[in-house]
């Protein structure tokens, strides 16, 4: 046998050696930080996790470049970058926290920071805001009221990073064809819907099907518009209020009058955009990125509507300040704070290079990125200042109990019951209240 293996020129020892080398290289590759890291730095690099906030290629490329260009001061650690996918992201974070392998600085879902803040895992950003950003101007550069949406009883659990707005767009061409006036309040919105119906077009476009939460978001936006909302000042669900009942009765009226596509309750976003492309929606309640999701012809006709004045005389809407937060168990808190400051000083290109990320949190970035985009400018100037978080009307912050409503089944079921029209406002709100109380 020995002579046979030598004749082949490949012995068993050779094979074992090759297998061992392959295993060792695999192990080393698995141990190396994904996504790249900054150069220099002292000690073990700290981890920065970011979600895919923009276009699949453009956003991570630019984001990695920003992180790679970070040159930490002497004594501070370098930073390694990793992009985390949205699929099962809650589990990704929770298992990492449980295993103590979580990042030092991270973005996540809108409420992720507050979930971990409740468990005492968050390092508050107060020092960065009060000492660093107060002196270098970033603190005053935040859009109005935005920074305080991140404030908890113990401090700033996170800092705003990008904004997801809820507003409505109208199709100029269809509105002109219908002879509809641009809405300014609920009555004129309903009048526009009536005019659009005459040309066979739905005025209240929305979607609340599988994987789509916008329908529910829009209903809450109407509640806030009327001075209502989901949470009281103690951050507990309190949805059966006169303002909310009035808001939902308004929507039910729109449904009953045929201004809402009866299938909206189960439309996915793809279904809704196909209806836009088919000219079936004269107006649609959606995020700031709607034009990017429809065909070029429809996109060229889309204009951001004006915030509506509700029956209570107020303007209001819902928005989601996505955020970046720091974990307490960072190898270097000083390093985390230094990187956070660097990132906010240099993240402008994520918007100016059109990587697809949501609206910026800073006025200077908005000005630089949207000088030639009247719709985005209008959203920043007119919708952001009147928008509130899930916490309305009790507060304009994000907190742990928001997890009961953010993308949850009770909210989806609530939206589907209203948009389906087979309920009363009080019944639907009462069902929602019970579901939130038991959650």
């Amino acid at each position: 046998m020995t002579s046979e293996s030598k004749a082949n020129g490949f012995t068993r020892r050779g094979f074992i050696g090759l297998a061992g080398a392959a295993a060792a290289s695999t192990l080393l590759a698995a141990c190396s930080p994904g996504g790249g890291s900054t150069g220099g730095g002292t000690g073990k690099p700290i981890k920065f996790w970011n979600m895919p906030w923009g276009a699949p290629t453009a956003f991570p490329q630019e984001d990695k470049r920003i992180v790679a260009a970070y040159k930490p001061k002497s004594g501070l650690p370098a930073v390694s970058y990793q992009q985390i996918q949205w699929a099962n992201f809650t589990q990704t974070f929770t298992t990492a926290v449980a295993a103590n392998t979580n990042p030092s600085v991270s973005s996540g879902g809108g409420t992720t920071a507050f979930l971990f803040e409740k468990e005492g895992k968050i390092h508050y950003a107060d020092d960065v805001i009060a000492k660093v950003w107060a002196s270098n101007g970033i603190k005053d550069d935040f859009l109005p009221g935005l920074l305080d949406t991140m404030k908890t009883a113990n401090g700033y659990a996170a800092v705003p990073y990008n904004l997801d707005m809820r507003l409505y767009w109208y199709n100029k061409q269809l509105m002109d064809k219908a002879g509809a006036s641009l809405p300014t309040d609920w009555d004129s919105f309903e009048a526009a819907c009536k005019a659009l119906k005459k040309i066979g077009v739905y005025g209240y476009g929305t979607y609340s099907g599988a994987g789509a939460f916008t329908g529910g978001h829009t209903l809450v936006a109407h509640m806030i518009n009327n001075g209502g909302g989901l949470f009281d000042k103690d951050q507990n669900p309190n949805v059966v209020t006169d303002q909310n009942i009035q808001a939902m009765e308004w929507v039910l009226g729109l449904v009953k009058n045929g201004y809402v596509d009866p299938r909206s309750a189960t439309y996915t976003s793809a279904n809704a955009y196909s209806q836009m492309n088919a000219g079936q929606f004269g107006m649609i309640w959606d995020g700031a990125g709607t034009p990017a999701n429809v065909n070029a012809n429809v996109a060229s006709q889309l204009v951001v509507g004006d915030p509506l004045t509700g029956p209570s005389g107020q303007k209001g809407a819902l928005y989601f300040p996505n955020n970046i937060f720091m974990f307490k168990n960072s190898p270097s808190i000083e390093g985390s704070e230094a990187f956070l400051n660097y990132y906010y000083q240099n993240m402008k290109t994520l918007w100016t290079k059109k990587t697809g990320i949501g609206l910026p949190p800073l006025k200077s970035i908005a000005k630089a990125a949207y000088a030639d985009d009247p719709n985005a400018t209008k959203i920043i100037d007119t919708w952001q200042p009147i928008s509130k978080t899930w916490g309305a009307p009790g507060s304009n912050t994000v907190f742990y109990n928001v997890t009961k409503v953010d993308g949850t089944q009770p909210m989806i079921a609530f939206a589907q019951s209203i948009l389906g029209g087979n309920t009363t406002a009080k019944d639907a709100l009462t069902t929602l209240q019970k579901a939130l109380e038991s959650a």
């Binding site: 099962n88 809650t90 589990q91 974070f93 929770t94 926290v97 449980a98 979930l115 971990f116 468990e119 099907g209 599988a210 994987g211 009866p262 299938r263 309750a265 189960t266 439309y267 996915t268 793809a270 279904n271 196909s274 209806q275 088919a278 079936q280 997890t403 009961k404 993308g407 949850t408 089944q409 009770p410 989806i412 079921a413 589907q416 019951s417 389906g420 959650a439």
Partner: protein, 327 residues
């Protein structure tokens, strides 16, 4: 072939081993104490098997035990076991007294019954059909496997496209017959029917293959004898075919029951349990509690209740298999 080789083949067919001993021939003496018939000690065999056993336990048993612990606690997905409050069986009581649970259980039962028997009837019918010699038989078999082979994400997207909007093919087809505005996904009853039909559609290829292999094992002489005796097609089917494939049938029912009860993507991708929870099954409900509501205790309690019921069903059906005695 030599005479010895021929003799060896004959003995192999009788189940006699190479060494001259076989099932019919007991060995002159049993294995030596501490050693198996393979001539190795139990200790050695255990040592070889231990790494795989440890891996199996870690990968399978540990998550089950961990999940059961979670069902006795009041935690979130991010709560470590020693951090969560122990609530005993409270989560199980909460689940079993929840109207939402029973609504989901009811639809799970309907979904499973339709899924199991619907796919079995279609699968068996196609398996019988494909036994006949028709042109393109092989091509048909491959095409009929497609619903099972195609990833569920693709299938659910296609079905959504088929029914979701007024311009979708099925609503348009229904409008030709005077049924305008059929809202397949928005009407609770229609959504339930749609989800069940979708399940039958993606499951029948599996049943078709199970039944085809079962039918292939039936001795054709029996059919000839039945024909000689003047049995009709129906009598042949009910008196011969069904009993002779009953073992495979029960096995396929057990498997399909488990598949249906545990089927998350079919429902979640098409309706997400809506509209207004109409198509929510227990597995979807468990997911919603654990990963949307962040109530891991209740989510895992639902999962364990489901497991318990599945075990009972499987035991009952398995006993039926054992009772089947085919001569």
């Amino acid at each position: 072939m030599t005479a010895n080789a021929v003799e060896g083949l004959k003995r192999a067919r009788r189940g006699v081993g190479v060494g001259g001993r076989g099932p019919a021939t007991p060995s002159p003496r049993g294995p030596r104490q501490g050693r198996t018939t393979l001539g190795r000690s139990w200790g050695t065999l255990t040592a070889f098997a231990l790494p795989s056993l440890v891996l199996l336990i870690l990968l399978n048993l540990f998550p089950v035990i961990y999940a059961f612990l979670q069902s006795l606690q009041n935690g979130t997905p991010s709560t470590l076991p020693w951090e969560a409050d122990f609530v005993g069986l409270q989560n199980y009581v909460t689940v079993l007294t929840s109207p939402q649970f029973w609504q989901a259980a009811e639809f799970t039962l309907v979904f499973t019954i339709v899924g199991v028997f619907g796919s079995w009837i279609v699968g068996l019918g196609l398996a019988l059909l494909l036994r006949t010699r028709i042109p393109g038989n092989t091509a048909f078999k491959v095409l009929l496997l497609l619903p099972w082979i195609v990833p569920i994400v693709v299938s659910s997207t296609a079905w959504n496209w088929m029914v979701a909007t007024p311009q979708s093919p099925l609503p348009v087809l229904f409008s030709w017959f005077g049924m305008d505005n059929v809202n397949f996904l928005g009407d609770p009853l229609l959504a339930q029917i749609l989800v069940c039909v979708f399940k039958v559609w993606i499951s029948f290829p599996f049943m078709m293959m199970m039944m085809a292999s079962a039918l292939a094992s039936v001795d054709t002489n029996v059919y000839e004898a039945a024909k000689v005796d003047g049995a009709s097609s129906w009598q042949t089917f009910t008196g011969i075919t069904l009993p002779m494939i009953s073992r495979s049938t029960y096995i396929s029912w057990i498997l399909m029951t488990i598949f249906c009860v545990n089927d998350f993507p079919t429902i979640f991708l098409l309706t997400q349990g809506g509209p207004v929870n109409a198509t929510t099954t227990l597995i979807v409900l468990a997911y919603q509690y654990a990963f949307q509501n962040l109530q891991t205790g209740i989510g895992t309690a639902i999962a364990f209740i489901m497991t318990f019921v599945l075990v009972i069903i499987s035991v009952v059906l398995y006993r039926q298999i054992k009772k089947v005695n085919i001569e």
